[in-house]
Amino acid sequence: MAEAGVATVVGTGGRRSKLFRVGEVKPYLFVLPFIGLEALFLLLPLGMSLYYSLFDIKYLIVGDFVGLQNYFEIFSNRRFLASVGVTMTFSLFSLFFTFIVGFALALWLVKDNGHSVFMRAIILVPYVISMLVGSLLLKWVLSQDAGLTDLLLGPLGIPSLSILGDPSTAMAAIVYNGVWRDSAFAMMLLMAGLKSIPLHIYQAAKVDGASKLYTFWRITLPLMRMPILITLVRLLLYFVNSLTFQLVLTGGGPAGATTNIVLHMYRSAFEDSLLGLGNAMSFVLFLFNLAIIAVIIILFRVSGRTPK
């Protein structure tokens, strides 16, 4: 690229600045609208969120400038710190199971036959229905008095239990909700990756004497690096920032056992009407998200060489 650029400059005999030649301004004009949109819908709200996080806001009335006091309050609040723990527990468990289940489904249904198409459609159902409905449905299914759990577990000799009334089983319930919904999403992303691996590579491995397991570890997994990275990042961001499961299925309870950062933020901002505090939390959450992406990408860089 650099050589070509120099050649052009020499060729035209000019000494004009490279940046402002007509030929090179044009490309920037094409991306300008999108940078503008990005600024309007991403950078502006982000900046506003940072700005208002420095004020004491109650209801919709902007009060005193309080500097970083909202941030100090967040990090000295036991419940906020607990919500960070809940977010991590929920995200990591959900990520683990969703990825495993999604990958298994993708491997199972990657062939385009009638059976696979039918099963894919069924598996996609929880992903395409609104989780406001899905989580509510699950809430009633898991309810002790009106649900199915006693009906299903009773015959096995398991005594009646309140799944949503106990902190650890409530966490399991929202993890289940997350896995139930997003396995299909993981399946689609990973299946797209699997389909991009040419068939003859697998045929070559077969003829070369590789067992199915060996082929999976040495051929499929390495060639799926990018799809796997994308899937992990998308899922993790999704789980870290999820609200519906917690809000609808468990209401963040019991005793805060399923209140994640987003729900805590939502409550502070919209139920307690403490918008300054809520904005501070949203900014912290934003940094948290950035950190997660950075960590995953670094992990992938470190863990293997990639051919150019």
């Binding site: 109650k58 009335i61 902007v62 902190p167 309870g253």
Partner: protein, 425 residues
């Protein structure tokens, strides 16, 4: 609160949002924001249409324009519109009157309705609702649909095990009644103990009872971590520990508990009296013979426990150019004619003694309304003006959960509830 200057987040929003629909001050046109739509067919909406038609027939020069709103965001939208000086003349509110008053968006009704109030004082019920709408001697709203959180119970289940509503007079009797129902294999007590969509519970009711009927002290200050706080909270947690309340209750919102009751899976449930009509229409078992409404228990037999009251009420925009016409229509809505329309067609609690005794108001939902009306008149305690109390019930539920599930002591749990509530004021 007073220190907040009026630069709101929303000036920006208000300028961009499509609020242009608000009519400019036309003499003779009164605009009103409410969650009811007079074009619809539900009881209260038909009643509103009738009230408006009657008023317009009596006042040929006046045009009442209703702009239906989403009830959850109506108050905040009104404050924003007030900042932009383009608000409607009349605004409905339920628990947000404090916000409307503190933001200066609504004005005192004394200059317009003082005489009317004096003339009608004897006939108007629910003094506590009027007290609640009065700030420093100034009436800021006219109550229209008062309601309070009372105890619904199954008359038929009670009869089966030989219980009567008198057994619910005291907490001991209450606990014994639940035990008796359980032992007979009948559904028991449903209590919403989730932080999400909370409502009055045993603990908050007992605390109010022991705290002179108030949840918060003067100036909206909470101080729950006291002996009476612990006594109230422990009363409730002991009932859970002894199995009188299922542990699942900590996952139940007010709506969950109510849905279970409608489904026949409870014999006792606290609920707002406003839902009596919905109960009769959405379940096949419920009628005035099978379901009753009683006040909350207390620690002694000499009085009932307090119930948290509230009311949909109408206020006058401080920037209105039609204050005379608007306040006159507000008074008409609470007049004998208006009150009759709300009570008969709208199935609301009767606002006036003269209306309460009408022969039309007997049987069915009217029987339940009458019981609710009496209980509200006797035990209704309205939140202190300007205090944000609705989430405080959630703070108490969280305290109960922390005691039961996280092993936190009642005092510490109540201290956190105190801090959460105070942070919000």
């Amino acid at each position: 609160m007073g220190r907040y200057y009026a630069r709101t987040l929303a000036t920006v929003l208000a300028a961009t949002c499509s609020l242009g629909a608000i009519a400019q001050a036309n003499a003779g046109t009164v605009t009103m924001w409410t969650f009811l739509n007079p074009e619809n067919t539900s009881g209260r909406e038909v009643a509103l249409r009738n009230v408006i038609e009657k008023y317009e027939a009596n006042h040929p020069g006046v045009d009442i324009v209703v702009e239906p709103q989403d009830w959850a965001t109506m108050t905040e939208k009104f404050v924003l519109s007030h900042s932009a000086n383009r608000a409607p003349d009349i605004i409905w509110s339920a628990q947000d009157l404090g916000l409307l008053v503190n933001s200066g968006a609504v004005t005192s009704l004394n200059p317009y309705l003082a005489d009317w109030l004096a003339e009608n004082d004897d006939d108007l019920l629910f003094d506590n609702a009027y007290d609640n709408a009065t700030y420093d001697g100034e009436l800021m709203a006219v109550p229209l649909f008062p309601y309070s959180v009372l105890v619904f119970y199954r008359k038929d289940h009670f009869a089966q095990v030989g219980l009567t509503e008198d057994d619910l007079d005291t907490w001991d009797g209450f606990a014994a009644a639940v035990k008796k129902l359980q032992d007979a294999g009948l559904p028991g007590l449903l209590l919403p103990l989730s932080e999400d969509k909370p409502s009055s519970t045993i603990a908050t009711t007992a605390y109010m009872d022991l705290n002179d009927g108030h949840l918060l002290a003067e100036g909206c200050v909470a101080d729950f971590a006291t002996d009476i706080g612990v006594q109230a909270l422990t009363l409730q947690t002991d009932m859970i520990k002894s199995g009188l309340i299922s542990q699942e209750a900590v996952a139940r919102t007010n709506d969950d508990a109510w849905d279970l009751f409608i489904g026949g899976r409870g014999s006792i449930v606290p609920q707002t009296s406003a839902r009596a009509g919905a109960l009769l229409s959405s379940s096949d078992w419920a009628n005035e013979e099978t379901v009753g409404i009683v006040p909350w228990p207390s620690f002694t037999t000499d009085h009932h426990g307090p119930s948290v009251g509230a009311s949909w009420q109408v206020s006058l925009w401080s920037g209105s150019q039609n204050k005379e016409e608007a306040s006159d229509f507000m008074a008409f809505m609470a007049s004998e004619e208006g009150a009759k329309e709300w009570a008969v067609t709208g199935e609301q609690l009767p606002l006036r003694a003269s209306v309460a005794n009408l022969p039309e108001l007997s049987g069915g939902v009217f029987a339940l309304n009458q019981a609710a009306s009496e209980a509200l008149n006797e035990t209704g305690r309205f939140p202190r003006p300007g205090c944000a109390e609705s989430s405080t019930m959630g703070d108490w539920n969280r305290a109960a959960q922390d005691v039961l599930l996280n092993g936190i002591s009642p005092v510490d749990a109540l201290q956190e509830a105190t801090d959460s509530t105070n942070r919000r004021q």
